[in-house]
């Protein structure tokens, strides 16, 4: 189509009209938010440290993966978690204890500065002692404070010998029974 002066002017005016109409249209979309009209347009900000208006740890869904927690009483020291961890953030040291069915977990350190919260360790934990807590506020002042220790501590040589005797005793008891 050959453009005449009139069509050029008309196109120009239409362009200006579109410009102002789109300004008006944008404003019209956003204006109802000023009055917070309805459920669709309410404020969504979580005022996070405020315990009244923001969600707390109790509001998290059941599966949420917070900081890890190990129930050391149930832990058998099988090191499954240490082996599957994709970032090697779990370190376990064990030794033989008094109970022959489980090991004495001397050291169970989780380095949360490395942890990616993938949950593989929890999945692979057979005695189900390792679990995700609902805790998620892990900020500390020093990097070394990010290491959580759940171990029972290294024992003395004397204690070790005492346990060995106990185990021997238990074994001989079983033989007699």
């Amino acid at each position: 189509m050959k453009s005449s002066i009139f069509s050029t002017v008309r196109a120009y005016l239409y362009d200006v009209y579109l410009r102002f109409r789109s300004i008006w249209g944008s404003l019209l979309t956003a204006l109802p938010y000023l009055w917070g009209a309805g459920e669709l347009r309410k404020e969504v900000t979580e005022q996070y440290p405020d315990p009244i208006s923001s969600r707390t740890a109790d509001d998290l869904p059941a599966r949420s993966r917070g900081l890890l927690f190990n129930d050391i009483q149930r832990c058998t020291g099988c090191k499954e978690c240490e082996k599957i961890c994709p970032v090697q953030c779990i370190r376990v040291d064990t030794e033989a204890g008094s109970d022959p069915t489980k090991l004495w977990v001397a050291r169970f350190d989780i380095d949360f500065s490395k942890c990616v919260f993938c949950g593989l360790c929890v999945e692979s934990c057979h005695p189900q002692s390792l679990m995700h807590s609902r805790q998620y506020e892990g900020a500390v002042y020093e990097l070394k404070d990010l290491v959580a220790s759940f171990g029972r501590g290294y024992v003395t040589a004397e204690q070790r010998m005492k346990w060995a005797a106990l185990r021997k005793q238990a074994e001989s008891d079983e033989v007699y029974l």
Binding site: R19, L27, T29, Y33, K42, V44, Q47
Partner: protein, 363 residues
């Protein structure tokens, strides 16, 4: 300086309140007046507008906005200022060029405090040129900002500087023509003439007196946005864009000075738009005349200023809320808008309002 009526000026009221003798030099009055207006009107306005802007945009965006500093966060601007003031320099070498041009553009800008119309008695300078002085200030502001950008020796600075200059040149022409339109309507370019041509009722405001004046009003406001690089026409100074602009190298005290200057430009322009087009400070219900006959000059001045500032703030809020929902234009699109849309419409409005006023006179 001596053009203001000696008896009715609020400066005389102020000086008698402060205990100055009548023999004091005039420049002392003027200096006191400038500092007084700056501290009592412009700084609180900046704080208030920044707070209102943030709260309003938060409402638009389904957020809460500032809410920690004071009740509902009203002291947030103050907290921001204190934080900016105590920032240390990133490097130890003093960029004296930057300081110089920042100083130049700040001084040029605040010299217009002398002409800012804030009420029937707060007219320090009311000559037939006074409406054009802010244009000069905006041009010097742009020059200062441009050289400020050049002095930063960085790509964002260069581009930002050149773009500021391009924008101010593009915006100045249509806004000047829009002022001419209003001048045709009022017959003079004194502030008092602009005020005298309007009344309190909105249909008697210049902007709504005839369709051409309304076009002139829109052109004046939009041209001012382009000239002073106010969002959404802030392609030259936006921090979000890759080129950053002049402010990308400023920090701390310099940044607060720069941003206050930017705000003041916007404020000045909105005050001008209100005075020229939106009925100025004329109080409704004939309140002004009543107070004047009762000689309650302080009260009159106070009410007039508040009325004017209220209208100004509403205008500014309308513009900022528009900027929140609207995408930003590219620099060449902004200047194109000014040259290709605003300028033809301003000329159209000029011819139209001339004919309209001429027709009215002939009748």
């Amino acid at each position: 300086m001596s053009s203001y009526p000696q008896e009715a000026s609020w400066i005389n009221l102020l000086s008698s309140t402060l205990g100055f003798t009548p023999g004091t030099q005039e420049w002392v009055f003027a200096a006191i007046g400038l500092v007084f207006i700056y501290c009592v009107i412009i700084l609180p306005s900046a704080a208030m507008m920044s707070f209102l802007d943030r709260k309003l945009s938060a409402d638009f965006q389904a957020r809460v906005g500032p809410n920690r500093a004071g009740p509902a966060g009203v002291f947030q601007p103050l907290a921001d200022l204190v934080k900016l003031l105590q920032k240390e320099a990133a490097s130890t070498d003093w960029n004296w060029r930057e300081a110089l041009w920042l100083g130049v553009h700040t001084m040029a800008l605040y010299s217009t405090v002398a002409v800012i119309p804030l009420g029937s008695m707060a007219l320090l300078v009311d000559t037939d040129m006074s409406v054009f002085l802010p244009f000069w200030a905006a041009l010097v502001l742009a020059l200062g900002t441009m050289l400020l950008g050049f002095s930063q020796a960085s790509v964002p600075g260069w581009f930002g500087g050149i773009r500021i200059a391009a924008q101010v040149l593009a915006g100045a022409f249509p806004s000047l023509v829009a002022v001419l339109c209003a001048g045709i309507h009022s017959g003079d370019y004194r502030w008092s003439a602009f005020v005298g041509a309007q009344a309190a009722f909105p249909l008697r405001w210049t902007a709504f007196s005839d369709p051409f004046q309304f076009i002139a009003f829109v052109v004046f406001v939009a041209g001012g946005l382009v000239m002073l690089a106010v969002p959404p026409m802030d392609a030259a100074v936006s921090l979000r864009d890759l080129h950053g602009g002049v402010s990308s190298h400023l920090f701390g005290r310099r940044l607060s000075l720069y941003r206050l200057g930017r705000f003041y430009g916007f404020f000045l322009w909105s005050v001008m738009a209100t005075v020229i087009f939106l009925g100025a400070w004329t109080l409704p219900f004939g309140l002004g005349g009543v107070l004047r006959t009762r000689e309650e000059l302080w009260l009159l001045q106070l009410l007039e200023t508040l009325w004017l500032l209220g209208k100004t703030f509403l205008l500014m809020l309308a513009i900022t809320s528009l900027a929140r929902v609207h995408p930003r234009g590219r620099i060449d699109q902004v200047t194109d808008f000014s040259w290709k849309v605003l300028s033809p419409f301003s000329l159209f409005a000029l011819i139209g309002s001339a004919l309209w006023t001429g027709w009215g006179l002939l009748r």
